[in-house]
Subunit: 355 residues, 2 copies
Amino acid sequence: MAAKTTGGRGRASRGKPTSSDVAAAAGVSRSAVSFAFNRPDYISEATRDRILAVAQEIGYVPNTLARMLKAGQTNALGVLLPQSLAKIMENPYYARFLMGVGQVCDHEGLTMVLTPPLRDSMLKAIPYAAVDGFIVCGLETDRGEVAELARHRIPFVLVDSDPQEDVPSVDVDDHGGALAVMRHLLGLGHRRLAVLSIDPGPDKAVRGYRGPLARRMAGIVEALAEVGLTLDDVALAEVPVTRTDGYRATKTLIRQASPTAIVALSDVLAFGAVDALHDLGIAVPGQVSVTGFDDLVEAAWLRPRLTTVRQAIATKGRTAADFLISAIREEDQHPHQLLGTSLMIRESSGPVPAG
Amino acid sequence: MAAKTTGGRGRASRGKPTSSDVAAAAGVSRSAVSFAFNRPDYISEATRDRILAVAQEIGYVPNTLARMLKAGQTNALGVLLPQSLAKIMENPYYARFLMGVGQVCDHEGLTMVLTPPLRDSMLKAIPYAAVDGFIVCGLETDRGEVAELARHRIPFVLVDSDPQEDVPSVDVDDHGGALAVMRHLLGLGHRRLAVLSIDPGPDKAVRGYRGPLARRMAGIVEALAEVGLTLDDVALAEVPVTRTDGYRATKTLIRQASPTAIVALSDVLAFGAVDALHDLGIAVPGQVSVTGFDDLVEAAWLRPRLTTVRQAIATKGRTAADFLISAIREEDQHPHQLLGTSLMIRESSGPVPAG
DNA sequence: CTGAAAGCGCTTACAG
DNA sequence: CTGAAAGCGCTTACAG
């Protein structure tokens, strides 16, 4: 601990100067100091200048925390993430999503607070960050957090989740996207398919798929049914969304199922798949087609260019931030936005190879 | 504004419940409530359980702001960024850097607050976010902010900057990196070079290059001198660090200077350059070599794989976070870390074409 | 094991 | 235009 000079309440005291220090040094009351910063019109310009000069000199700036406490707002938007900060920043999907959120924050003069999953050690006393509300992200969410947030009357919006009646939410037409990409592949004649899917987390066994993953799987099942197939007819791998995991899983899928097409449920996984196929000497799309989901900026850079399902990720972030701001202002609506998806047919998918 | 029931200090009051509400409902004092959350050993288990149950029931959770104010710390690390949040999240370099910072935050149980450049409208009353300290990032920094932070005794560390004696800092051997990549290209016989550089910002005219850019330029000049050239002998474009800007600038450079090698001072710019050359039908490295700087993860995905200067970006973030934590704890050291760079020779650079 | 009191640093009616 | 006072919601010695 730092040594603290006790009795020093004057400017001689160690630590950050407070409004009292400024008041003493400028020979005015603390309110005058406050007015100098917040209500220029309440005091004479001369006094204000003097106070500000003194403040500048002794290095005073109003304590943000105290200000926030008084005001009852923080001017910060929280983003409650489904994974560790390190993992999130590694995932281009989130970079893009946070870009959207960031645009709104920039525009509204808000800061952005990134919060990793709540430590569920003590679900009672969640140490919420100092924010005005949360954007709750991600496939793996809505365990206890959502109920907790609602109970504590903290404004929030759900993203990539299972929409709830009375909570604002932003989602994407995952079902339609998955359906479209599957029909594309099936239309090209592919029947030996592998689905490179996203790890649904530990409680899938208990509760089945949820959120976007559930919708995407439903789209896949629907498309399969159209040609008389079921999920049992495709190879399935479920892995964390990293390029490395996509790479490894692809090698396994190829070995075990020798599919003619790999349907990745995320572009990042598709990147890994293309890499793996390249390293295996398998031509894309000559021998194996690969499709993604998301249409990250990087998807168009890849060679071959990736066929994928586009979703407007930045728009999703922007919309979520807008909805949150409305919720914070207690404009008591509960808007639900469903953004469209569209199939981007590029170079990584082609007709099933002859034979 | 929300309607506020005035005199209601009981649990009937609107808005979030406070410790008084819990105390009243549980028939104990406010301190007891506080103890239930913070000092389990100060009260009986039975009482604690009762208080916690009541808290849970009425949806009470201690106000974070008040807590922080009392404690004098926020458990949040601020990252002061050189650009708007939207731009930052668009740049893979920052994604990687923030990943490093995130790793430390994850480990230490800290949250991460992203702060765009301070609005210099009112340099006196900068509305600092509620954080324990700042990691100050970026080429364009150290205008007024650094002096302000120091004046206000806010702990901070400088990253990618011009190190100062008494401020912790983390930098990279930009000079060595630039020197190495230039020697590589010159060694391959290239003499008609174009440098695709980073926009130094508005006050370059006044103060010249600073920070990493200054060091990289110095490395370039040194390498040029070794073969009897000067900066006047190379084409130079200075643009914002986006793939699009790299793309456009490359087209211009090719038209105006027809270089045999393009030295990009950032991988993101190099990505754009490779794209532009591809679209122009110019072979890389057959006709034009391209090099980058950073060695982003994506650099190895590119085809041809990008020759570039590797810097340990995530480590930089991690080190910066560690230094900041030390500074916050007032372990009064001012460590300076200089991380190495290394030249990654891959496929995008080759010998100067004959003729 | 509990309760009244002070205080973290600020802002804001309110009376002068 | 200024100053004393209350209060934002919490925590923490302190005396019981």
